[in-house]
């Protein structure tokens, strides 16, 4: 699939980003950096996040009212057919605009192009849904994938990649559910597909898809874990078989799932540290938390407050010990701030949102439960 955005510029952008890190560390001189900027130019229009939000917002409005405007000419009959024609025409014009703004305005995931892409893809899929009325779910999924995957390859859009991933897994689940054996093997098939997706995107060397790659890595790691998680499998099994029991029944091969639930987070974290892979590390920590939740859901001897204190103390001790231990970088790990916080100003506003609720006039907010000290942790 031919790429929509200027590939050389994407690569140059990546080189410049790396180089500016080296500049910070004093590995490059300012003169060299200036030379670099001349040798590796990029002209993308990349506004700040807030302008992007505004562009996306107004882009969406423009697209929806364009459809409304175009419908004046088409919906005379009001039949499904004229709706399909309208949809296809809108989709074509959105794609045309999209290509136009990318070529002539040098947009690069700047809000307008995102809005246009989503509008175009939705309009492209809509008539096919009308065409295959009452078709099984899998047909719709395949049609949507046929639009979204090429769109992802061409525009490297994050949402398109994520939705494609979601549709692919829904399709697999949908197909597996058709057979009795498939239902039993569903967790394993999801895990296998997730692993395949992970190792497939890992092979990507193209900077163009770097962000998409990250999104898909995160999604496939999470899916792989959830596919093997005891809690998910047990509760999922109960709801799939429509067992309305108060406690969902024990599942077959439970020991395999116990092992998965314990081992996968540990593996993620270990490899995260070993390969210096932040995605693996963070997903590992989050899945570990979910594993602990799974364990306590079925076996915990403690009350909620005791658990909170126990886990809280553990986390504080581990983090504080690690911070102290990594005072000087050891084993290839460090506790140095790499990037400054970009939104320090907005964090202060969050404080007002979460902590600043002074006692209300009616006095209801006063109360023994307001031990607000912990709330501070959310922000700082």
């Amino acid at each position: 699939m031919k790429k929509a955005y200027n590939e050389t510029w994407v690569e140059n952008l990546y080189i410049l980003r790396k180089a500016s890190k080296w500049l910070e560390k004093g590995l490059l001189s300012t003169a060299q950096m200036d030379e670099l900027k001349i040798s590796f130019p990029e002209q993308f229009y990349r506004p700040g996040i807030f302008v992007k939000i505004g562009l996306f917002f107004f882009g969406t409005i423009a697209c929806s009212f364009f459809v409304g405007f175009a419908s004046i000419f088409f919906l005379e009959g009001g039949s499904g057919q004229s709706f399909s024609v309208l949809s296809i025409i809108c989709s074509a014009s959105f794609f045309f605009f999209l290509e136009y703004v990318i070529k002539n305005r040098n947009l690069f995931h700047s809000g307008v192009d995102n809005a246009l892409l989503y509008a175009a893809a939705s309009c492209a899929v809509a008539p096919l849904f009308l065409l295959f009325e009452d078709a099984p779910l899998s047909v719709y999924l395949i049609i949507s994938l046929l639009v979204l995957i090429p769109a992802t390859l061409r525009y490297a859009d994050l949402l398109a990649a994520a939705v494609s991933f979601f549709l692919l897994f829904t399709l697999l689940a949908n197909l597996m559910m058709k057979f009795p054996l498939g239902k039993a093997l569903l967790p394993f098939s999801l895990m296998i597909l997730a692993a395949l997706v992970y190792f497939w995107v890992k092979r990507n060397k193209d900077v163009y898809y770097l962000d998409c790659q990250k999104v898909l890595e995160v999604l496939s790691l999470v899916t792989f874990y959830l596919g093997g998680n005891y809690f998910v499998v047990r509760e999922g099994n109960a709801s799939l078989n429509a067992l309305n029991l108060r406690v969902s029944p024990q599942i077959a091969f439970s020991s395999i799932f116990y092992t998965f639930t314990t081992l996968i987070p540990i593996l993620y974290i270990t490899f995260g540290f070993k390969k210096h892979n932040r995605i693996l590390l963070i997903i590992g920590m989050l899945t570990l938390a979910f594993s602990i939740y799974t364990y306590r859901h079925y076996f915990s001897p403690l009350t909620v407050s005791q658990e909170l204190i126990f886990v809280g103390v553990m986390l504080i001790v581990v983090a504080a010990a690690a911070i102290r231990y990594l005072h000087v970088p050891k084993h290839g790990l460090s506790d140095e701030k790499e990037e400054e916080r970009q939104f320090a100003n907005l964090e202060a506003i969050l404080v007002a949102q979460s902590l600043g609720q002074t006692p209300q006039e009616n006095g209801i907010e006063f109360g023994g439960g307001n031990f607000g000290g912990g709330g501070a942790g959310e922000v700082y």
């Binding site: 407050s305 886990v311 460090s334 007002a352 006039e361 023994g368 501070a376 942790g377």
Partner: protein
């Protein structure tokens, strides 16, 4: 694209020497993996869980522990926090003062929160302030304002502004503004005035260079409040022209501010609020039928117009510098 290919490209372009290549490659190979934010997050989640757990346990056993003991604990904690902060603080200055101790910011915030909890507890249990609720709110507000300026803390400042607003019966936190009962005309007027005054105060502190990094907090909180209040006034009140002028004035101020200020969030606020105000006023003037006929063309044309403005806002506003958040 790997580091090796990048370095090769740089060498081919004659930007770096072979020796530098090995240096950089060596750095990339050996650079430590920073887990700074991960560790901080774990620490703060730990504190959050721990204090939630302690809170529940105290709440469950309040009869055995006794109120005095709890008040004593909270009071000690509050005093300890403020003591720690003042011990490690630098002298006051009109400029930004960065605390030399990493933890000080966090401790001050903790102190402010426990101060609130303490006051709430006293009122709840012993009715210290009786029915003088205003007093109960204005005391922490004053304390927070003092802390914000003395210890240079934006978090304390936004807590103080929140307190000031709730002293006037308003909720100012951005996500909760719609919890205000704006059907009451008096409250609406208060909101518009307070918001505009906060914006004005932020502007003055910037011009006079008194803690000018506080301007963002003042303007953001105040601006949101007064813009939303004037929108609602425009929709529901009789004196539409007043709210129209105030709202449009504020949005123009925000859009023009993008020229001076790096942060473009005000540009976004100005554009969105301004768009709603102008659209609403235009449609009210035209009447329902004409508005219905024109709506799809209007929205399409106007949003394309806004997009073009946002794409070229630097040119329109005469901004030269490249860097902006």
């Amino acid at each position: 694209m790997t580091i090796q290919t990048i370095l090769q490209k740089l060498v081919e372009n004659g930007i770096i020497s072979g020796r530098q290549t090995t240096l950089i490659a060596d750095y990339e190979l050996k650079k430590p993996f920073s887990i700074h934010w991960e560790l901080r997050s774990v620490l703060y989640i730990g504190i959050l869980l721990f204090s939630a757990g302690t809170g529940i346990i105290i709440y469950e056993n309040i009869d055995t522990i006794g109120h005095q003991a709890i008040i004593a604990i909270i009071a000690t904690l509050t005093v300890a926090c403020f003591f720690y902060v003042s011990k490690h603080s630098l002298p006051y200055s009109h400029d930004e003062v960065k605390s030399p101790v990493k933890l000080a910011d966090f401790v001050l915030l903790l102190g402010c929160t426990t101060f609130l909890a303490l006051e709430g507890y006293l009122q709840f249990q012993y009715n210290v302030f009786g029915t003088r609720y205003g007093l109960a709110i204005i005391i922490p507000t004053i304390v927070f304002f003092f802390c914000a300026y003395r210890f240079d803390h934006k978090g304390a400042l936004s807590m103080a502004i929140t307190g000031l607003a709730s002293w006037l019966g308003l909720t100012i936190a951005p996500m909760s503004i719609f919890e205000n009962d704006f059907t009451e005309g008096r409250l609406l007027v208060t909101a518009v005035i307070l918001g505009s005054m906060l914006v004005g105060f932020g502007w003055v502190s910037e011009v006079k260079k008194v803690k000018k990094h506080f301007a963002f907090t003042y303007m953001f909180l105040g601006g949101n409040l007064s813009c939303i209040a004037s929108l609602i006034g425009l929709f529901s009140q009789d004196l539409k022209i007043v709210y129209f002028v105030i709202g449009l004035g504020l949005t123009c101020f925000f859009v023009l501010r993008a020229r001076h200020q790096q942060s473009l969030i005000f540009l976004l606020m100005g554009v969105i609020y301004g768009y709603i105000i102008i659209t609403y006023s235009l449609f009210t003037l035209l009447g329902d039928e004409a508005a219905f006929l024109l709506s799809s063309v209007y929205f399409m044309a106007s949003s394309v117009g806004v997009i073009i403005f946002l794409l070229k806002f630097k040119k329109f506003l005469g901004i030269k510098n490249e860097k902006s958040i």
